[in-house]
């Protein structure tokens, strides 16, 4: 993973526009958050291999970044993106790592289903 280069990431997002793509979207504060701090309200969600098509996708902000994909009937949104990788399978992997390096959010786009 590399730190987000907004220009490069935008180009890759554009590359998937108008195609059927599989999305992985996750947000998490970890299964132990409420164990370590009982005042903490733990929440998280993920969806793996949602098949969507977006006409317009953007990455914005000054870092951490936000990504929005305008899909046919709605939106895909992620906040807190700090790192990205365009991997050997042609997938765009974006993630947000917190101040301790722990993953807090992930948004991934692929033309083939995730494993």
């Amino acid at each position: 993973m590399e730190s987000v280069d907004i220009k490069k990431v935008q180009e890759i997002i554009n590359h998937f526009a108008g195609k059927d793509v599989y999305i992985y979207l996750e947000t998490t504060n970890g299964a132990y958050a409420s164990h370590h701090n009982q005042q903490f309200f733990s929440a998280g969600a993920y969806i793996r291999n949602a098949l969507v098509r977006y006409e317009l996708g953007k990455i914005t902000g000054n870092g951490p970044f936000r990504v929005g994909l305008k899909i046919d009937l709605g939106w895909v949104y992620a906040e807190g993106i700090t790192h990205y990788e365009f991997d050997e399978f042609g997938r765009l992997l974006m993630a947000g790592h917190d101040y301790n390096g722990k993953l807090a959010v992930a948004l991934e786009i692929s033309e083939t289903p995730f494993e």
């Binding site: 299964a31 790192h83 997938r91 992997l93 790592h97 722990k102 993953l103 807090a104």
Partner: protein, 223 residues
């Protein structure tokens, strides 16, 4: 520690075996007891990836699989089973299918001791679901032929609700092996070790108690 015929360890995540149980495992291996570790998932949803991150969500399972194999090698576990479930989803699997998987292992291996998490007192939903599946599998065996069932509990209320652990294994003779097993899970434990290194060097009493003692609650079946 009593000499066992065969020990079956069942946990959901690579590294679950390392923290609270690896000294006990290493001791059984040293005693010549075969140990099987059935690990349900590859910890696909782990949040630790180094700082700065050296891997990503998609590659993490591959790394953790290698780490798990390395930890097993360090501990001398000959029989490592990766059961192919997915991190965070164990509780959503069919309960009966899950306990049948465990029953199959028990039937095959005929262990005299099974180690897992104490359902209700083990914090992570995968821990709870794994422990519950093992308890169901052992519980449906006739009482006379059940293996011993030792459970790990660490919820904030575990001592309050269960009482003190009835089994405390002092594993100091194999403490180095235990630390090496924890270290083998590098992606998950590297940052933690950085904080601990100094304390370990100074034999900080609190850390040494944590390293040297492994506690278990014998599961109490209602019959």
């Amino acid at each position: 520690m009593e000499k066992e015929r065969h020990v079956l360890v069942v946990f959901p995540h690579p590294d679950d075996e390392a923290f609270g149980v690896s000294g006990t495992i290493a001791t059984h291996v040293k005693n010549g007891t075969p140990v099987t570790y059935a690990c349900l998932t590859l910890g696909e949803m782990g949040r630790n990836m180094g700082n700065p991150p050296f891997t990503n969500r998609e590659n993490l399972p591959k790394i953790r699989k290698q780490e798990l194999k390395e930890a097993a090698r360090v501990l001398g576990i000959q029989d490592l089973r990766m059961l192919g479930f997915r991190d965070k989803t164990v509780e959503f699997e069919d309960d009966e299918m899950l306990s049948n998987v465990i029953s199959g292992l028990i039937e095959e291996l005929n262990p005299s001791l099974v180690i897992t998490f104490y359902p209700g007192y083990s914090v992570h939903p995968d821990h709870e679901a794994t422990g519950a599946a093992v308890v169901r599998a052992v519980g449906k065996m006739p009482k006379a032929v059940r293996p011993k069932l030792h459970c790990v509990a660490f919820s904030n209320d575990c001592v309050e609700k269960l009482g003190e652990a009835d089994i405390i294994n002092n594993i100091s003779p194999v403490a180095e092996t235990k630390l090496a097993a924890i270290k083998a899970h590098r992606s998950q434990t590297e940052t933690m070790f950085k904080d601990m290194e100094e304390k370990l060097k100074n034999q900080d009493p609190q850390i040494m108690v944590w390293v040297n003692n492994e506690r278990f609650w014998t599961y109490k079946f209602s019959d």
